[in-house]
Amino acid sequence: MRLEIERAGCGYGGKPVVEDVSLSLDSGDVLCLLGANGSGKTTLFKAILGLLRLRGGRILVDGADTASWPQRRLARTLAYVPQAHTPPFPFAVRDVVLMARTAHLGIFGSPSHRDAAIAEDAMEALGVSHLARARYTEISGGERQLVLIARALAQQSEFLIMDEPTSNLDFGNQVRVLRRIKELAGRKLGLLMTTHFPDHAFLCASRVAVLKAGKLLAMGRPEEVITGGQLEGAYGVSVRVVEVEAGLRVCVPGMS
């Protein structure tokens, strides 16, 4: 399947935040969105998820405009992975994952045993089954992020929209989450994620897009897009991209 963002524009009040951004994503792709704070990444995500109305352009799934889709249908196609958060009530992890099934239930419905089995399989896939009975509010940040990804998986959508899945995690958990992201792409899911670390794009992205002040600066394969010049343009600091070994690149910021 193919998710296309076609010349999208959106914003709050009278202020445009994102203008004329076009992206596309196929099943099996990991598209990594880079950009400084306030460059419009989250706003663009909200527009894609139908939480914010588009000012211009279209969002297409396999060529069909999603503007008229009800929230339920949108949620069956696009699953959202928010940053690990703390809900006001101490739900059990298994119930948090089970919430993903809402898009597949009627308005008065409750999840069935089949839904519970799907949730359990999703937890299994992300390696968090042992947390099923734990309270979501009491597990670690890294575990919460994995649980939220499991929830998105249980939603059985074709695309996962992930808002900074590696932020606020320690180094080990960042790597664990990135490995899971690669695995999910292997299952033919399309993943769109933001990150503050260009290195993470090298590690797991098949394509990279760079946003600056609401406009698309560059898009393409990681080694084409993530260059010293592009990163300096996006973040305003000097960066060297070093090839450590064949096909393995890292970003080293200049400190002077």
Partner: protein, 351 residues
């Protein structure tokens, strides 16, 4: 299909799930028995002593019950029914509001329902209406207060957090109606109407009549049934507007249905029994401590506990002193310290 459900017949998983269902069901069954015990207790407690044997006689042949029949069927039974409806209604609406507003400190009068209903009743008493007139006024103004809150918040919420706007406007509308209640009291005849208004505002089930139960029953059911049916969506909504929408919940529609139903419950309770505070705040808390935050269990648990609590408090109200204590005073006197105790005991905050 990216995640296929496991083939059925996997005994271990089925067994695990059965235990889960039992775990969720057991507390509800216990709460159900507690509720029945409270009903029985309320039938027994009172000035007029009715032995168990007389009970059966009255139930089998109500027309030959004599004084015992009148006491049981026309005084205690309606009062018990009203207490159950009011307790269950307030607790359920409190639980629903807490999920919708994602805040365990929210109570059913958050959008100004109680203040509006209080003013309606006070104005009804001031204008010399009969009891049905007073109840209708109370009901109408309670609903009007919430509609006013929602309409004003709807205009303001174009940009910004719709839930926060609702709460803030609710506080404003509530304080306007509270001021209007004070005004009504100020202009009321201090010898006849002022005491009546004051007494009504304290809340009581003393004057309950079968007719009051009939008056409150329909709106109570209209409020309760959709909330119980929507209990799964309440889980999803407690993750916040945007996340709930991304999960596929029709949040806009759901929000209004839940506000309407919870308000209907609060207003019908207040219009019949006056101001009965703290039930809608304390009971959902207590229920959450017993069964956890999952609304599939929490909502029925709140309903049962609310009914039980109201019956027990009413039993106290009519038995501690030789004159009856207004219910609202007792629910606050019992409710607030109990709430404090719950918070200190768990040390987990709002869990």
């Amino acid at each position: 299909m990216l995640v296929e459900p496991r083939p059925a017949g996997c005994a271990e998983i089925l067994e695990e799930r059965r235990t889960h269902a039992r775990r969720a069901g057991a507390p509800l069954i216990i709460l159900g028995f507690g509720f029945l015990a409270a009903v029985w207790c309320s039938l027994m407690v009172g000035r007029y002593d009715v032995p168990l044997a007389t009970w059966w006689r009255v139930l089998v042949a109500p027309e030959r019950g004599g004084i015992a029949g009148i006491v049981l069927l026309q005084v205690r039974l309606p009062r018990i029914l009203a207490g159950v409806l009011i307790g269950a209604g307030l607790a359920t609406s409190g639980a629903a509001y807490q999920g919708l507003f994602r805040n365990p400190m929210v109570s059913p009068d958050i959008l100004g329902a109680s203040a509006g209903a209080g003013f309606g009743a006070a104005a009804g008493i001031l204008l010399g209406f009969g009891i049905v007139g007073i109840e209708c006024m109370s009901f109408a103004f309670g609903l009007a207060a919430v509609l006013l809150t929602c309409a004003a918040a709807g205009r303001l919420a174009r940009s910004g957090d719709p839930i926060l706007t609702l709460v803030l406007v609710g506080i404003l509308v509530g304080s306007i109606f509270t001021a209007l209640v004070s005004l009504t009291k100020y202009v009321a005849d201090p010898y006849s109407k002022l005491p009546a208004i004051t007494f009504w505002l304290m809340g009581s089930l003393a004057a309950i009549h079968v007719r009051d139960v009939e008056f409150a029953l329909a709106p109570m059911l209209v409020g309760l049934v959709p909330l119980v049916l929507l209990r799964w969506n309440l889980n999803v909504l407690s993750f916040g507007e945007e996340e709930a929408r991304a999960l596929g919940a029709a949040t806009g529609k759901l929000r209004w249905i839940i506000i309407f139903c919870a308000t209907l419950l609060t207003v019908s309770a207040v219009s019949v029994a006056g101001m009965v505070g703290w039930v809608g705040l304390v009971i959902p808390h207590l229920a959450r401590m017993i069964v956890g935050p999952d609304y599939r269990v929490l909502l029925p648990a709140s309903l049962l506990l609310g009914g039980t609590y109201m019956l027990l408090v009413d039993d106290l109200a009519r038995s501690i002193l030789s004159t009856e204590i207004p219910l609202g005073i007792l629910t606050s006197l019992v409710g607030a310290p109990f709430f404090l105790y719950l918070l200190m005991r768990t040390q987990r905050g709002w869990t």
